[in-house]
C-alpha cells in the first residue's frame, strides 16, 4: 500500500467506496501464482496434412469471407487445391475434433471449392521476374509440378521435362477422369506452371541423359513410381494380362477400349486396384476384384473401397491366383483359397494358402494392380540399395552435387499430398542451395490440440438431419458460400481466432489486444485463469509460476 488517502472529514469522502484516482500503481500481477500462456498446440488437421497446409488458417479466412486470401494461404503449401480437393485421402478429417461433437469438417470439399474458385476466377498471383538461376525438373507429376511451381515463385527459371505429352504424371495418366476431370486438371496445371517452361516427350535415358542437363544450376529428379509389380504367377505374360497402371494410362490417353460383355479380373487391394476395377466397370466389363486378404487389410483408402462397393463389382477376398493359361480367346485363372495367418512385419495378417481348395475362373482379361515400384534404371548411375535408399556413387561428380531427388522415388507414402510436400521442400532446399545458404526446415510442432482442449460450450451442434447429408451436400456443391458455411464450423483447435473472449472476460483488464492476437499485461494479471477457461479454441492455458 503505497498511496494512502486519508480523509479529514466525512464530507470529503465519496458517497460510495470508489478510488479517487487510478489504481494503476497497485501492480496486482505480483499476486499471481500462475500465468496464461499459449499452449502452442497444432490443430489435428494441420498436423495430419501431408502437404503441410495451414488448413485452420484458410478455414479462418473463409469464415471471414476472404476467399482470395484463403486461396493464397492454401497454395503457399499446395499448388493443387482443385486436384487434392478431389483425390486426396483427406487425413485432415480423420482426427477433426468436431467428430466427437457432431461430425468432422468436410475439409476436402472446402479445399475443392477454394481450388475451383481459383479456376473459375482465373486467379493467378503475380509472378516475380526470374533471377539468374536455372533449374531442370524431371517428371511432371505432383512432386515435379510442386517443385517447378515453387522454384518459379522463388524467381528461378525452371524447365520441366516429362516423358508424356501432357504434364500431370499420375494425375493425368493414372487417376480416372470420373475422380479428376481433365478440364479441372488442365485449368489447375495451367496456373501451376505459369512461367515454367514445359518440355514434353523428353524421357530421361531415351531422349536425353543426366549429363545433358549439366548446364542447369540444379536438377530435381521426380520421375515417380510406375513400374507395376510382378505377380510372380506362371503365365503372367500371357496376352490378356496387363498392368492396371498401363490400362489406366491407355484410358487416360484417349484410347477406345471396349470391355462390353467381358469378364474382367482385377488382382490387388490397393487404390490402383479400385481405380482399375471401377474404370473397367465403366467400360462395360463384368468385374471381379481378387484380393488375397480381407477387406480389413486392403491398403486402399476406406472411401475408395466404399465407392467401389457401391458399384456392380464383385469382391472376392482371400483369393490368390497362381497360374494363368490361355484357352484360345479366354484365360483360365487358377486360384488358391487363402486364410489369414500370423501378422507380418507391417502388422497385417499374412495370407496363407488353404491346401486342397484351389479353383479355376474363366475370364477375358486380367489386370494386375498389386502395387508399383519406382524405377530409376533409366537415369544412369543411380541405384537403389536394398532398403530403397539411393546410391548416387555412380553419378558424375559435377552432377551429383546439384542433383536433388523427391516424390515417389523416395521411400515415402505414395499419395499426391506427400509428393506435393516433397516437391515443395525440394524447391526450398534447392533455393537455399542456389543462394549458398544452409537449408533449415521449419521446426515441427508435435503437440496436437485434442477435443479436451476445446471449450465446446462456445460452439453449436449441427442437427441430425444436416449431419446425415453434410458430406454429400458438400461433395456436390459448387457454391463457394457452402465452403464458407462449412468453415464456420471450424473449432480453430489450439489456435487463436481473435474471438475477444479473453479480452472480454478478464476481470482485471489485463488482456491487451495486439495485432493478430492478445497479450497478458503481467503487471496486473492475477493469474485467475478465466481467460484460459473461456478460450473456445484451447489456445490459452495456465502455467505454474509468476512468469511464462
Amino acid at each position: 500500500m503505497s498511496k494512502f488517502v486519508a480523509f479529514k472529514t466525512l464530507a470529503e469522502m465519496p458517497e460510495l467506496p470508489v478510488s479517487e484516482a487510478r489504481m494503476s500503481w497497485n501492480k496486482t500481477g505480483s499476486w499471481r501464482s500462475s500465468t496464461p500462456a499459449h499452449r502452442g498446440k497444432l490443430p489435428p488437421c494441420n498436423f495430419n496434412c501431408p502437404a503441410g497446409e495451414d488448413i485452420r488458417g484458410y478455414l479462418d479466412l473463409m469464415k471471414r469471407g476472404k476467399v482470395a486470401e484463403a486461396f493464397n494461404l492454401l497454395t503457399e503449401k499446395n499448388p493443387l487445391p482443385a486436384v487434392c480437393g478431389r483425390v486426396c485421402y483427406h487425413p485432415c478429417q480423420t482426427d477433426c475434433n468436431r467428430q466427437s461433437f457432431d461430425t468432422e469438417l468436410q475439409i476436402r470439399s472446402v479445399e475443392r471449392l477454394i481450388g475451383d474458385w481459383g479456376i473459375s476466377k482465373a486467379y493467378r498471383p503475380e509472378l516475380p521476374p526470374v533471377g539468374p538461376h536455372k533449374v531442370a525438373v524431371i517428371g511432371a507429376g505432383p512432386a515435379g509440378l510442386a517443385a517447378a511451381h515453387y522454384l518459379r515463385q522463388r524467381r528461378v527459371s525452371v524447365t520441366l521435362f516429362d516423358e508424356n505429352e501432357k504434364p500431370g504424371g499420375i494425375l493425368e495418366y493414372g487417376i480416372p477422369s470420373y475422380r479428376l476431370d481433365k478440364d479441372t486438371l488442365k485449368a489447375e496445371l495451367d496456373r501451376v506452371l505459369d512461367g515454367v517452361e514445359f518440355k514434353p516427350q523428353k524421357r530421361l535415358g531415351r531422349d536425353m541423359e543426366l549429363r545433358d542437363l549439366a548446364g542447369y544450376d540444379a536438377i530435381f529428379l521426380a520421375t515417380g513410381a510406375h513400374k507395376s509389380k510382378k505377380m510372380f504367377v506362371s503365365g503372367e505374360d500371357t496376352k490378356g494380362v496387363e498392368s492396371g497402371l498401363g490400362f489406366l494410362k491407355r484410358i487416360n490417353s484417349g484410347e477406345n477400349i471396349d470391355l462390353n460383355g467381358k469378364q474382367v479380373a482385377v488382382v490387388g487391394g490397393g487404390n490402383t486396384a479400385c481405380d482399375v476395377a471401377r474404370s473397367a466397370c465403366r467400360l462395360g466389363g463384368q468385374v471381379t476384384v481378387l484380393y488375397r486378404r480381407t477387406e480389413n487389410e486392403m491398403p486402399a483408402f476406406a472411401e475408395e473401397i466404399e465407392e467401389m462397393k457401391a458399384e456392380p463389382i464383385d469382391l472376392e477376398f482371400l483369393v490368390a491366383p497362381f497360374k494363368i493359361e490361355s484357352t484360345g480367346n479366354r484365360l483360365k485363372l487358377s486360384c488358391h483359397r487363402m486364410e489369414l495367418g500370423e501378422p507380418d512385419e507391417d502388422g497385417r495378417r499374412r495370407p496363407v494358402v488353404v491346401e486342397g481348395n484351389d479353383f479355376d475362373m474363366t475370364v477375358d482379361q486380367v489386370f494386375a494392380a498389386i502395387g508399383e515400384d519406382p524405377d530409376i534404371s533409366f537415369a544412369g548411375g543411380l541405384v537403389y540399395n536394398a532398403d530403397w535408399t539411393l546410391d548416387l556413387s555412380g553419378v558424375e561428380d559435377n552432377l551429383r552435387d546439384k542433383l536433388f531427388i523427391g516424390g515417389d522415388i523416395l521411400p515415402q507414402p505414395r499419395t499426391v499430398p506427400h509428393a506435393v510436400a516433397s516437391g515443395r521442400m525440394a524447391a526450398e532446399q534447392i533455393d537455399a542451395f542456389l543462394k549458398g545458404v544452409p537449408f533449415e526446415p521449419a521446426a515441427r510442432v508435435t503437440e496436437v490440440a485434442g477435443a479436451e482442449d476445446v471449450n465446446f460450450a462456445y460452439f453449436s451442434r449441427l442437427n441430425a438431419a444436416r449431419r446425415a447429408h453434410l458430406r454429400d451436400e458438400l461433395k456436390s456443391s459448387s457454391d463457394i458460400s457452402a465452403a464458407a458455411d462449412e468453415a464456420n464450423r471450424c473449432l480453430s483447435c489450439g489456435v487463436c481466432f481473435e474471438c475477444d473472449n479473453c479480452y472480454n472476460f478478464c476481470p482485471d483488464l489485463a488482456v491487451v489486444r495486439t495485432p493478430g492476437g492478445y497479450r497478458a499485461n503481467l503487471d496486473y494479471c492475477k493469474g485467475c485463469g478465466i481467460c484460459a477457461k473461456e478460450c473456445p479454441s484451447g489456445t490459452l492455458g495456465m502455467q505454474g509460476g509468476r512468469a511464462v
Partner: protein, 384 residues
Amino acid sequence: MKKVLSGNEAVSQAVRLARVQVISAYPITPQTTISEKLSELCGSGELDARFVKVESEHSAMATLVGAASTGVRTFTATSAQGLALMHEILFWASGARLPIVMVDVNRAMAAPWTIWCDQTDSVAQRDTGWLQFYCWSNQEILDTVVCSFRIAEQLLIPTMVCFDGFFISHTNEPVDIPEQKQVDRFLPPRKAEYLLDTKAPRTFSGGTMPNMFMEFRYKLHAAFERAQSVIDDIYKQFHKSFDRQYLPVEAYHAKDAEAVLIVTGSAASTALHTVNKLREQGRKAGILRLRQLRPFPAESLIDHLPAEAVIGVLDRNLSPGTGGVFSQEVRAALLRKGVHRPVHEFVAGLGGRDITADNIEKMFDALENGRAESSKINWVGLNR
C-alpha cells in the same frame, strides 16, 4: 391506456416503460412470468435491453452489480429461495450504492417445500440495506416500480418492490398503463456520477481498511435517513404527472377508530372490506396500510395513529422465537418516538393460507374486547 393485467404483467410493463437496459433473472415461481414476459419484450425489440441468462439468482444479482456499475439501469425479479440465494450480493449492491431495482414476489421460505405466499422471504432481507416497498394492487405495482428507479437512482440505494405471490402476482385487475412519453418525462435516463469506465479507471468497493469502512456504513445509513423525504417528493411529482397518489402509510377510517389494524400487502384489501362491514355495524374499526418496511415510515405512522385506539399489527411473516417483523418494527418506531402503547401482533396467512374476512373480524373482536395479547403472538387461523 387501461388493460387487464396480472400483478406480474404490471411489473413487466413498468420495466419496459422505465427503459431498463440490463435484465438478469432466473426463473422461480411465482415470479417466473415476469422474467418470461421481459425476455419476450427484449426478444421482440419492444424493450431495448440486454437480457442475461444466468444459472442462479446469485449470478443474476451479481450480473446486475456488474452492469449497474457501468451506469446502466438494471432490473431483476425473484421469490423466496431465490432471494435468499442472493443474500450475499444484496449487501454488495447496497454497500456499493448501486441503484438496482428488484421485484420480490412474496413466497414462504421452505422447508417444508412450498410455493405459496408469505412475506418471510423479503422481511428476512431487512438488514441488507435495501429499500422495501409493499404493494396491494396491480396499479400500485406498476407505479411503484416506475418510481423505484427514480428513488433508487437519487439515493443510490437498491430498491425491492414486494407483493404477495398468487394473491396479487397471478390475479388480474384493470391497470392504467401510462404513455411512454409521459414516463420518459418523469423518469429520465440514469446519470451515474461514478461509473466503471476503462478510459478513466477506478477501483470500486476495493479492500477498505478500518479507518474508512465505518464511514461508508454511516453514509449508507444517512441515505436511509433522508430517504423518506426523497420518496415523498418523488411520489408527489408522480401524483402531479399521473394523478395517482401514494403515501408511505395509507389510512382508512383511522381517524376516529377505537381499534386500528396495521396491515401490508393483499391482506389490506380484505381488511378494508371487513372495516366497511364493521362500520355498518357501528363499530369504530380502522386500518393503516404500510407501504414500506425500509425506510420504516415511523413519522407518518405516528401521525396517523388515532390517539385512543387499540393497536394491532397483522404479520404475514414470522421470525421464529420473536414474532412478526412488522410488529417489531412498529414497536421500535413507537418507542423511539416516546410513544408507550401496547402493540398486539397477529400472525396469519403463512405459507399461502387465506387471510379471510372472518380472520380479520376476529382480530378486531380481540382488539375491542381486550382479549388480544400484547406480550406474545396472537395466532389467527391456526388449527390447534
